[in-house]
Symmetry: C2
Subunit: 206 residues, 2 copies
Amino acid sequence: MNQAVDLSLKKQPRQARSKVTVGAILEAAAQLLAREGYEAVSTNRVADVAGVSIGSLYEYFPNKQSIVAATLARTMREIVDEVSTGMHTALKLDQQPQPRAGIDYWMRAMTTALEQRGDLLRVALREVPFLWEIPEARDLHESLQRVAQEGQLRQRVIHFDDPEASTYLLMTMVWAAILQTVLYRPAQMSRERLISTLVDMVLKLL
Amino acid sequence: MNQAVDLSLKKQPRQARSKVTVGAILEAAAQLLAREGYEAVSTNRVADVAGVSIGSLYEYFPNKQSIVAATLARTMREIVDEVSTGMHTALKLDQQPQPRAGIDYWMRAMTTALEQRGDLLRVALREVPFLWEIPEARDLHESLQRVAQEGQLRQRVIHFDDPEASTYLLMTMVWAAILQTVLYRPAQMSRERLISTLVDMVLKLL
DNA sequence: AGCTAACCCGAGCAAAGGCTCGGAACCACT
DNA sequence: AGTGGTTCCGAGCCTTTGCTCGGGTTAGCT
């Protein structure tokens, strides 16, 4: 369906000014994606917005896809980091008497990470054809599932006939609910309402 | 971000042969979308696959977007129909002593509707920039929520502090879990495993 | 100062693809 | 058979856009 995406840089920036150039290109791509969507991203426009020439752009990036991919990879890496540490902290809190605190912390970490990148994520998820060929995007889902499995194994708190399947589904459902709600802001569903209701529901399932 | 999509036909097909033409165009667009993704859809290719000339295509459709939109609208309409009737049947079953039968029926209806259109839906959800400007796509989410609210009101079975929010989230979560699982087929998650686990979880929340 | 490698530039090439337009073929009805 | 509306056709116009290439500028080092 889609051939592999070339993520690697053509050339590593060595001097300081070239690192600035590459950074400006990534920043420009992120802005264009978030503001105007994937179809509005053309290599010439990215170069314009970044304030560099189209020639310089192609010194470092082999093609258009690689620019978008690098931009999204960076964002995904940030999210993976925030969410992973959030989840690990939450697991520690869960060892305490009140599991509610841990779940709550966890939901907040995920919500915050997504909220701060709403516009970019919305476009990435809806419009970028090769999103799931970016390793960092795959990793996000995998590490979500991995940490969920860890939590389940360590605590054996999910009481269903099929622990593996229910853990997978719980994680998928919670993540999807937050994603859906944060990115598409349905009427009357505030951040606090989302989190507290989700915590209630998760607790009832454990 | 995206300007409005023109969904209307330029001209209504009147004779039988022109209706065949329009049908062939929609069918060709659906096939190309499902098989090769949105970026592979060009007006000339749609005309080729449909076996009509590019000129004929533009007799009826004002632009490229409208072809894709019409194709997806038709698919969404089918899904809305199947899922809505499935949910209403499920609500009737729920009146019976065993709520499990109703929930199970409901999950099956949704899973089946999505499974049969997996390839097309995957592309639509991931790659088509203007998907949510197609009224039929919006309707799908709205009617899901509407029927969920109906069921909740009629039965008052969701016991949370915030019934409205929890109903919304339950529906969102279940739908997302099925979508995610059906479209991206994670390892070891068979149809039966998905449905039975989901039913367990939903019952525990009611 | 001189030299090399890194860096930057932007006019323009080439391909892709959305869409037009003038005219031919077909259908329905008298 | 004649007529007017409907349908079909496809070469090619024209815009967009990804990307190249030859040449200039700057940084770092001796």
